[in-house]
């Protein structure tokens, strides 16, 4: 098993993602440069956070045309697990692998804080170990994280159980006060219809070490690892 961490120019969580995978979970992971055109040899892809291409024009708008993205789209269509974190989520939306878009936070300001997150479905490779509406703690850090999608697509997302994470309060309730950016339906993460592509604004890559105040991020990467390589005896 090997996980790819894509490096776009301006990615700044690439190192955090790699460390989370290798130091945090002892998983084999390697960087893949955005000019590369193939993902062969890899079993899953992480699109890390940051400011790819400075987030100029729109977040993820330019990165989406990077050479590696053709391979990402192809692999995603073939069923490879792909997870986009923060800027990675924005890139996946721009690339059309996920519906909707991430627009400016309602406050018009960048927001960095710790938030609570409810897992809405265990039916993805990334949440398979997280059944029963678990509540997780993780940091967010973004200026454009307000999830938007038109009415019809929203209905589809909800009815097909594609909303994977929602911002909640500490007790797990969806409230206006726990929505840090104005996302529609408190949406913090979604998956595609085939359920192998996930995008989320919060940062599991910054929550994998007790020192950092939360280890909940490990649950997500851990689910992915076990999906890729089911643990037979435990």
């Amino acid at each position: 098993m090997k996980i790819a961490v894509v490096q776009f120019p301006g990615s700044n969580c690439d190192q955090d993602c790699l460390r989370a995978l290798t130091d945090g979970l002892h998983l084999p992971a390697e960087y893949v440069w955005h000019k590369q055109t193939s993902l062969s040899g890899f079993d899953a892809v992480v699109l890390p956070g940051g400011f790819s291409y400075g987030d100029y024009l729109r977040c993820g708008a330019i990165a989406r045309f990077s050479p590696i993205m053709r391979a990402v789209v192809r692999s995603a269509k073939e069923g490879m697990p792909v997870i986009g974190l923060c800027n990675g989520f924005q890139i996946l939306c721009e690339a059309g692998l996920l519906p909707g878009a991430l627009i400016r936070n309602q406050s018009l300001r960048f927001v960095c804080q710790s938030i609570w997150l409810r897992v809405e479905t265990g039916d993805t490779p990334f949440t398979a170990n997280l059944q029963g509406r678990r509540v997780l703690k993780m940091p967010i850090a973004h200026g454009e994280g307000s999830y938007f999608v038109d009415e019809r697509s929203l209905e589809t997302l909800e009815s097909k159980n594609q909303v994977v994470f929602r911002y909640v309060d500490e007790t797990g309730d969806v409230t206006a006060g726990s929505n840090p950016n104005g996302s529609i339906h408190n949406i913090a993460g979604i998956c595609n219809e085939a359920r192998n592509v996930l995008g989320m604004m919060p940062h599991p890559d910054r929550a994998w070490d007790r020192k950092l105040g939360s280890e909940d991020g490990k649950l997500i990467f851990g689910s992915l690892a076990e999906t890729l390589e089911p643990v037979v005896s435990r």
């Binding site: 190192q15 955090d16 460390r19 400075g54 300001r109 960095c112 020192k211 950092l212 105040g213």
Partner: protein, 741 residues
């Protein structure tokens, strides 16, 4: 076309007749127009420290752990053990931020980051120390201060967040003296191994000199000279094109440079900061004991028709000068191609000690590099002491409602929670922030080195205004105390000297007193000064800013379990005060905010007491006897106690009793005497803790207990009670409320 050098032209370049004579002596002839520009920026205050160099010599700069001293390179480097070292420095961008707050602050962040990776270090985190005029109220001045404040914060957030370096701490205060002249001081720290220290020297005759990074435009033309003058209304008119930061390019440049440095082919590297290409060529040549020859026609340019003068003096951002070992050219090209960054071989290292600049092969500048870089005139300015501020007398102070006073103090923007600011900064990127902004010092885990670092910036400029020497000492003491409270042992200091116009004798006196105060305190606390920055001419049309010698201090926390935060944790924990109850109200925030009096002598620092308190606190922390530690600073015990109750993830009350303590309650609550720390400890630690304090012969007292949902303070017959939630909202949402108005 040859521009004639007239006395007028010399004056507009900020050079005196005497300085001009010195230039002629160095050259053995008249300079041409371009050379005049080169001398003018290199001999500006900003680059040459001509008015402060003699003062800066007073700092203690050596120490066992100092690997690169202040003044040697772009930033000092200090050993943190196991062959790891840190490079850190603070720099100001005050004048650019006054003119264009967003870009001024953003480019300030970019500049200090380049200073750090120029040393071969990977930048790990930032701190920012900010000053603005008052932001409350509906006056046009308050509105303008709000705009400056919000734009500066946005600018720092823009650059720091995008480049992916967390801003994990800092300080902000508000005072009339900064109206129209905000202070923006940014600190950056990076990590490197001892053998990775890079030098800003042009080594190896015949080596290629490369220009890398963004193309040159007419940005911030002669900004160094601009920062060396008073700010006037005129500044806005004659302002050169404002520098715009490109954090995206900055990120690419950072990664490309670190990759190139790792390849081992770099002979010398220097960022282009103030005075751009001019400063970097003559300084690298001077440090290398060599010469440098470049041709401007080879410099990547963004605009057409730029003159040699413009190219040399441009302060376009995100550029570096790199000297590579012979044979390393291909490596440089490969790496910069990979990162899609412009680069060009613009010249080579020579043996004749000259900074020689050609334009399409024609010599435009030919100046002995070392003399240009090092022989700037040095002045000893006249100093005139301020009369000493009077001693405060409590009898003269009408009593005020202490219940309301505490709430007002907590809501005052200088004291209020700064979450409105630090929530706009990405403070968790790089996955190393253990204690985020909001406690005494930030703590960062350096994963590659397996080290915990604590860092803080401090300066109480009100103290410095009323007694600059004492204020400077206290800045050092307070920084050290903040580190101690987080469980760290102080390691070293960087400073940023922000003052008004040094030609005014009273201002020069403030500067000298401050430097001597800092120097003395650094010596007593055993923390060498590894670098810093001077920003003068911080004046608005009315007056100078209050003297602001900001101190940035870094410490190391030996073990993870020593990491300590400022807030109370559990019901029934015992609350201790280590140090005196104190009585000094002069220069306090209580007098300023509640009584409108910015006067009287500030508190006095006793080194023995301070060092004693710090030693005991650190020892108690290391013995595992302490749950929280918070130092008392602005707003005194009252504010510190409230913060212990409301700054944690869970609010908690406390009951505190001063017994028969003789002073007035407002004096007990709001005095700002130094050397005080509030600890909380589990009941079972009581005996051990008290034994340690007694053995150290340090003043301490059991003040009360954590618990309930109110803060209750009693002394003699009086008892005050605050609902912790009320204190919290007064404090936590205050800046947000002000900014929304």
């Amino acid at each position: 076309m040859v521009t004639e050098i007239t006395p007028d032209l010399i004056r507009t370049h900020g050079l005196t007749d005497q300085e001009y004579a010195q230039i002629k002596a160095i050259l053995g002839r008249e300079p041409n127009f371009t050379e005049l520009g080169v001398f003018s920026v290199m001999w500006s205050e900003h680059c040459s420290y001509k008015n402060t160099r003699l003062e800066l010599k007073k700092f203690p700069i050596s120490g066992q752990k100092v690997l690169v001293k202040a003044g040697e390179e772009n930033a000092g480097v200090i050993d943190v053990g196991d062959s790891w070292a840190v490079a850190f420095k603070m720099e100001s961008h005050n004048h650019p931020s006054a003119i264009e707050p967003f870009q001024g602050a953003a480019t300030g962040v970019g500049g200090i980051i380049r200073d750090i990776f120029t040393m071969g270090a990977r930048p790990l985190f930032l701190l920012d120390s900010l000053r603005f005029g008052p932001i409350q109220g509906a006056s046009p001045a308050a509105k303008n201060n709000r705009r400056l404040f919000s734009e500066v914060v946005a600018g720092i957030s823009h650059y720091g967040n995008c480049i992916g370096i967390p801003t994990i701490g800092g300080e902000i205060s508000f005072d009339e003296s900064y109206e129209g002249n905000p202070l923006v001081n940014v600190f950056c720290l990076g990590i490197l191994r001892h053998e990775q220290i890079a030098r800003g020297a042009a080594k190896g005759v015949g080596n290629s000199v490369f220009y890398v990074g963004s193309e040159t435009g007419r940005d911030g033309l002669a900004g160094a000279a601009f920062a060396s003058r008073d700010l006037t209304e005129q500044s806005k008119q004659d302002r050169p094109a404002v520098q715009v930061g490109d954090p995206f390019k900055g990120k690419l440049l950072l990664e490309a440079c670190l990759e190139l440095l790792a390849s081992g082919c770099v002979a010398g590297i220097q960022d282009m900061g103030a005075a751009g290409l001019t400063c970097s060529t003559c300084e690298t040549a001077s440090r290398g004991g060599t010469g440098v020859e470049i041709d401007l026609a080879l410099v990547p340019q963004r605009e057409t028709g730029m003159t040699p003068y413009e190219i040399l003096l441009s302060e376009s951002q995100e550029r570096m000068l790199i000297i590579v070992e012979r044979g390393g050219e291909a490596t440089l090209k490969e790496i910069f191609d990979k990162w899609d960054l412009p680069y060009a071989r613009v010249g080579e290292v020579t043996c004749d000690g000259m900074m020689r600049v050609l334009d399409h092969g024609c010599v435009k500048v030919e100046i002995p590099a070392r003399k240009l870089a090092n022989n700037a005139p040095v002045y000893e300015r006249e100093a005139l002491a301020d009369p000493q501020a009077p001693e405060f007398r409590i009898e003269d102070l009408p009593a005020a409602d202490s219940h309301e006073s505490l709430i007002r103090l907590l809501a005052y923007p200088t004291i209020a929670s700064k979450n409105w600011v630090y929530r706009q900064y990405d403070h968790t990127v790089r996955a190393g922030t253990v204690v985020p902004p909001g406690s005494d010092a930030a703590v960062f885990y350096v994963r590659e080195a397996d080290k915990f670092l604590a860092a803080t910036t401090d300066c109480n400029s009100l103290y410095c205004k009323l007694n600059p020497r004492e204020g400077a000492r206290i800045a050092v003491a307070e920084a050290a105390r903040n580190l101690i409270c987080s469980g760290a042992k102080p390691l070293a200091v960087t400073d940023n000297l922000n003052f008004g116009n040094p030609y005014q004798p009273k201002i020069f006196w403030q500067l000298r007193e401050s430097v001597e105060g800092l120097a003395e305190a650094c010596l007593r606390f055993g923390v060498p000064v590894v670098g810093g920055n001077v920003s003068l001419y911080n004046q608005n049309p009315n007056s100078a800013i209050d003297p602001t010698p900001t101190v940035g201090m870094v410490g190391v926390i030996g073990e993870e379990r020593w990491i300590t935060r400022q807030y109370f944790c559990d019901q029934s924990d015992i609350i201790y005060l280590i140090g005196p109850v104190g009585h000094e109200l002069g220069a306090s925030q209580y007098l300023k905010i509640i009584h409108g009096r910015k006067e009287f002598l500030p508190p006095r620092l006793s080194y023995d007491l301070e060092l004693g308190v710090q030693a005991v606190v650190l020892s108690l922390i290391q013995q595992g006897l302490v749950k929280s530690a918070h130092d008392c600073s602005e707003g005194g015990l009252g504010v510190a106690l409230a913060e212990c109750c409301i700054s944690g993830p869970r609010r908690v009350g406390a009951r505190v009793d001063f017994g028969n303590w003789p002073e007035r309650l407002d004096q007990i609550l709001f005095n700002e005497s130094q050397s005080r720390v509030i600890l909380s400890a589990p009941p079972e630690a009581k005996e051990a803790l008290e034994a340690v304090c007694a053995a150290a012969e340090i003043q301490f007292g059991r003040m009360g207990q954590v618990g309930g949902s109110d803060l209750i303070v009693s002394a003699r017959r009086e008892t005050l009670l605050w609902d912790v939630d009320e204190l919290y909202h007064a404090w936590y949402d205050s800046i947000e409320r002000v900014m929304r108005s």
